[in-house]
């Protein structure tokens, strides 16, 4: 069988190596190589949904090679409905981010491209690793390129932001390391195996068959260790404080990747680890986490409303939107989780697009204050039109992608015995607030009169910029109109995850 996953995983890293060989000063060459490599990766990754067997809930495209056999650690890759779209989202957003930096990154261009490609490898690795140690390796490695990207190419208080980003997530992930170690040793002792196994599929399988049952207290502990790591990454309220700093200081491409993919690593981990491995503890913790998620939704929206800096506004809107995704996950039923996964993709697309939109105007005016703008619609009509679509997508207008995801999440939370209508009622306020702050941003910057002379001369979007927007627009519209196309491959895998809870629910009735 053709090793698709290894190819997609290592192609960007190889591209990064190749970039090291290019001359330092030839910026254009470096940009072209990086873009070509990432586009090639994207094209190859398109084979994944095409060859994906939607009816099969188990891992597909599996590759397994012994890595540290003495400890039962292996190089183990695989893809299921949960990770399929996230991998494609990653390979899709990277070329866009690279293209977005074409004219905005001028210093040490080659290294920027190298870091971007390494980051791509690391992020794809997180989504497809089926060995916990391999997962942890990629998980940690996403930190290094991103911290460097913020710290070197960021603006203003970049070092502080980079450090905060790194330390917050690192602190969380060392706890996860403890959880990983504990999980494997408990698994070894429970199954009586001679060696530890760090294979996620093995452990998950043993949990589902009941061969590996955790004591409830221990399950809570492990759940907590994993949860903190993922909650910081998501970021859930009250662990979110690194996010606005990181976003505001990061270069546009960094923000796109950060919001588009990196945050999803957290929510992906919540489903893959917390829900799949610790169903009882998940059930136990769901109401509390639901409350945190709802607080995040309202808090993020509230703070976003108070922002005058557009990038900060979008950053806080991420906190709010990620709250929705967590709410969907901890609805613990099929529809909620499906909505959450779809919303991960949606958020990646629309928030990525919003960051690009803010980036465009920042490149032209070097400010992001809303009060500096007004009436851009008349000066830059194409920009205004595209921005409107993206804002509406983020708000959740029916017919665009955001609506489907949010609707499914609400529905899931509503019927969930763990959450219920109260959570939905409060989070609906978040939806309303989202419409308020995003449309206010749109009104203040695009509508009205051109009241600043500097803005009258602004050039509309270039061909390349329009191209990027259109590229993002296509999946946004397609998801909005044909959501089943995207739902179908997820279904089998997600119902497998939700199975554990359904049985408990059935017993309860």
């Amino acid at each position: 069988m053709f090793p698709y996953l290894s190819l997609i995983l290592w192609l960007p890293a190889l591209g990064a190596l190749a970039l090291l060989a290019t001359p330092r000063e030839q910026h254009q060459t470096a940009r072209s190589i990086a873009l070509a490599v990432s586009l090639l990766t994207f094209v190859i990754s398109l084979a994944l949904p095409l060859r994906f067997n939607a009816a099969d809930p188990s891992m597909q495209f599996v590759e397994q090679v012994a890595w540290i056999p003495q400890w039962g650690i292996s190089y183990h890759l695989g893809l299921d409905g949960l990770s399929l779209w996230l991998v494609v989202l990653t390979t899709f957003l990277i070329p866009i981010a690279l293209f977005a930096t074409w004219n905005s990154i001028h210093a040490q261009v080659r290294y920027f491209q190298i870091l971007m490609l390494l980051l791509e490898t690391a992020m794809i690795g997180v989504f497809i690793a089926l060995d916990t140690i391999l997962f942890y390796l990629f998980w940690e490695f996403t930190l290094i390129p991103m911290a460097f990207m913020i710290g070197i190419w960021g603006s203003g208080n970049r070092i502080y932001a980079a450090r905060k980003f790194f330390l917050y997530t690192f602190a969380g992930s060392v706890l996860m390391l403890m959880g990983i170690i504990g999980l494997s040793f408990l698994h070894r002792d429970a199954t009586g195996a001679e060696l530890t196994s760090f294979s996620l599929t093995q452990i998950m399988g043993d949990i589902r068959t009941g061969a590996f049952a955790l004591e409830f207290g221990m399950e809570q502990l492990l759940f907590g260790l994993f949860f903190i790591a993922f909650a910081i990454k998501v970021p859930m309220w009250p662990f979110h404080t690194w996010l606005p700093d990181a976003h505001v200081q990061a270069p546009t491409a960094g923000s796109v990747i950060l919001a588009g993919v990196l945050l999803k690593l957290g929510t992906y981990g919540l489903i893959r680890f917390n829900l799949s491995l610790f169903p009882n503890a998940s059930e136990w913790a769901a109401p509390a986490i639901g409350i945190l998620a709802v607080i995040g939704i309202i808090y993020g929206a509230w703070i976003a409303f108070a922002q005058t800096d557009m990038k900060k506004l979008v950053a806080y809107s991420s906190v709010s939107h990620m709250g929705f995704i967590v709410l969907g996950i901890f609805a613990l039923n099929e529809i909620g989780i499906t909505g959450a996964v779809l919303q991960m993709v949606n958020h990646g697309l629309s928030t990525g697009a919003l960051f690009l939109i803010v980036g465009y105007i920042y490149e032209r005016r070097h400010t992001r204050e809303m009060s500096e703008f007004g009436g851009l619609w008349t000066v830059m009509p194409i920009y205004g039109g595209l921005a409107l679509v993206m804002v509406l997508s983020s708000v959740g207008l029916p017919g665009l992608n955001g609506f489907i995801g949010e609707f499914a999440i609400m529905q899931g939370a509503f019927i969930s015995p763990a959450l219920g209508w109260g959570y939905v009622a409060v989070s609906v306020i978040g939806v309303v607030l989202a419409a308020v702050y995003l449309l206010r941003m749109y009104r203040e910057t695009f509508m009205g009169e051109v009241n600043k002379p500097e803005n009258a001369e602004l050039k509309d979007l270039s061909g390349g910029e329009i191209g990027m927007m259109v590229a993002l627009l296509v999946p946004i519209v397609v998801i909005g109109l044909f959501p089943t196309l995207f739902f179908a491959p997820m279904q089998a895998s997600i119902s497998e995850v939700a199975q554990a809870f359904r049985s408990v629910v059935a017993e309860g009735q």
Binding site: W67, I68, P69, Q70, W71, I133, Y136, L137, E140, F141, L143, I144, A147, F148, G151, I152, R158, I159, A162, R163, F166, L167, F170, A171, V174, L175, L177, M178, I181, G182, S184, F185, T196
Partner: protein
């Protein structure tokens, strides 16, 4: 009629590595004496050759995994744990010499004795790793310490170096007092200095009586004193006060050598004492070491946070790492021993590398080693910055570096042993440690240079940094061969076999 003198059977293979290195050091001292000219670099190269020869001898006498040889009335043992440790120590010594060769002449402190002293110290370390008799342990500690007293004060006439030498001497003598008094008490209690026999004595005497037999009590008190003596050597909190001053004052290669070599050897000896002799007392020393390890990890890393001086920061970081290694030796079932060896090698690579980078930036006649000198290094010397970043990440335990797997194995061994709280303190303190390692990286990559510092490169430094970077990354991505090596390094628990 005088008593019959029995000469014990002697197996030279058991002490072959030590014999080689001591003989080489002695001859080297003479060679250096009669070598004309002021240039002492040749002595350094000859010392490196000696280390290589010793490594070959070690490989030649290496016993099969699981077997061991003893000799000199069971005073010395040659097991695969000992030989693996010897190889790691030889590598550390080779790094130290490689980074010293130009350092000494650059700072006008070049004297030929330096290299034989390093060899003697390395021999002492090997002895520590192989001895199964408390007298020999003491001999190893003293041999190591006395050479290091001279080496720390080698930066004559720099005051801080003399201060370092004196401080190390006084505290070393203090520690030796604890050690020898503890050994005397153990002898008083058990009637033997042989580690195997002490273990057997404790097993029988604890098994027989329901009350605590007085002999065992003496051994317990003696063991505590021996532990205190070792705590000074490996600088566990609260016995670590000398570490930053001594590291700062001594020549940088010596500090590098001490930070990994001395620690590794002393830990190995302690491991053997705890596992072979004092295992019946595990219920007593486990909590003590657990508290010490926790304190060490937390204090070492928190103190390192405040240091603007790189050398002191690395000193405190080495204190912190001693805490992690302690976890490894505490849990020395098979996995603890392995994790100790793996951690030691990973830590040696990263720390030697970091000190080597420090040497490239060290100015003649200056005692600064400020983090400021690292600011903006990336723009001027990208490869050096990347190397330093690799070492810092490895010390912090971020994958994909060898340091990550070191930490992973230590934590895994601790969890397996049921020390979940220690694992938690370990991960907590490594999160704290990430702070200051990251600060160096941030300064290098994201700041503007504070002042113009032109690094000095020479062959020894370049090769050391190169090997350390490659080793750190390769063992971080593919630790498999190293894991099988350390897994086969079994500690001899009995005589023969």
């Amino acid at each position: 009629m005088p008593p019959e003198i029995v000469i014990p059977a002697i197996d030279v293979r058991v002490i072959a590595p030590m014999l080689t290195i001591f003989a080489w050091a002695t001859v080297l001292l003479m060679v250096d004496l009669f070598m004309p000219g002021k240039d002492r670099k040749l002595t350094g190269y000859l010392a490196l050759a000696g280390l290589a020869v010793t490594a070959l001898v070690t490989l030649a006498v290496q016993p099969a995994p699981g077997t061991s040889r003893t000799s000199f009335s069971n005073m010395v043992v040659l097991d695969s744990f000992g030989t693996t440790l010897t190889l790691i120590l030889l590598l550390i010594a080779a790094f130290s010499i490689a980074i010293s060769i130009n350092y000494l002449s650059y700072h006008n402190i070049e004297m030929g004795e330096y290299y034989p002293l390093i060899l003697f110290a390395t021999g002492g370390m090997i002895l520590l790793g192989q001895s199964t008799n408390l007298i020999l342990v003491f001999l190893g500690v003293e041999l190591l310490s006395i050479t290091l007293y001279v080496l720390t004060a080698f930066f004559y006439p720099r005051y801080t170096s003399e201060e370092a030498g004196l401080k190390y001497l006084l505290l070393g003598a203090f520690a030796a007092g604890f050690l020898i008094y503890g050994i005397a008490l153990i002898y008083g209690g058990a009637g033997t200095l042989d580690l195997f026999e002490i273990g057997a004595f404790l097993n029988t005497s604890l098994a027989v009586g329901s009350a605590f037999p007085p002999g065992a009590l003496l051994v317990l008190i003696g063991g505590a004193l021996v532990l205190i003596g070792f705590c000074f050597k490996i600088s566990l909190v609260p016995f670590h006060m000398w570490t930053p001053d001594v590291y700062e004052g001594s020549p940088t290669p010596v500090a590098a050598f001490m930070s990994v070599g001395t620690k590794g050897a002393a830990f190995a000896a302690l491991l053997r004492i705890l596992i072979v002799a004092l295992l019946p007392f595990k219920i007593y020393w486990l909590p003590v070491l657990g508290v010490l390890a926790t304190l060490t990890m937390l204090f070492g890393n928190i103190a390192a946070l405040m240091q603007p001086n790189m050398k002191r920061m690395l000193a405190y970081s080495s204190v912190g790492h001693a805490g992690y290694i302690t976890i490894g030796i505490m849990t020395a079932g098979t996995h603890g021993t392995e994790s100790f060896l793996f951690y030691l090698l990973a830590y040696a690579l990263a720390n030697m590398g970091a000190f080597a980078v420090l040497i490239t930036l060290e100015r003649r006649g200056e005692m600064a080693w400020s983090v400021d000198d690292f600011a903006g290094l990336w723009k001027r010397y990208p490869l050096l910055a990347i190397a330093m970043a690799t070492f810092m990440l490895s010390l912090a335990g971020v994958p994909p570096t060898a340091g990550f797997f070191g930490k992973f194995f230590v934590f895994a061994a601790a969890w397996e042993d049921g020390q979940i709280f220690l694992v938690f303190m370990g991960v907590l303190s490594s999160a704290i440690a990430a702070f200051f390692y990251l600060r160096v990286i941030m300064r290098m990559f994201m700041d503007e240079p504070v002042r113009e510092v032109i690094p000095i490169f020479n062959r020894g430094l370049t090769i050391t940094i190169g090997i350390a970077v490659v080793g750190t990354i390769v063992f971080g991505l593919l630790p498999t061969p190293l894991v099988s090596l350390v897994q086969n390094s079994v500690i001899a628990l009995g005589v023969g076999g």
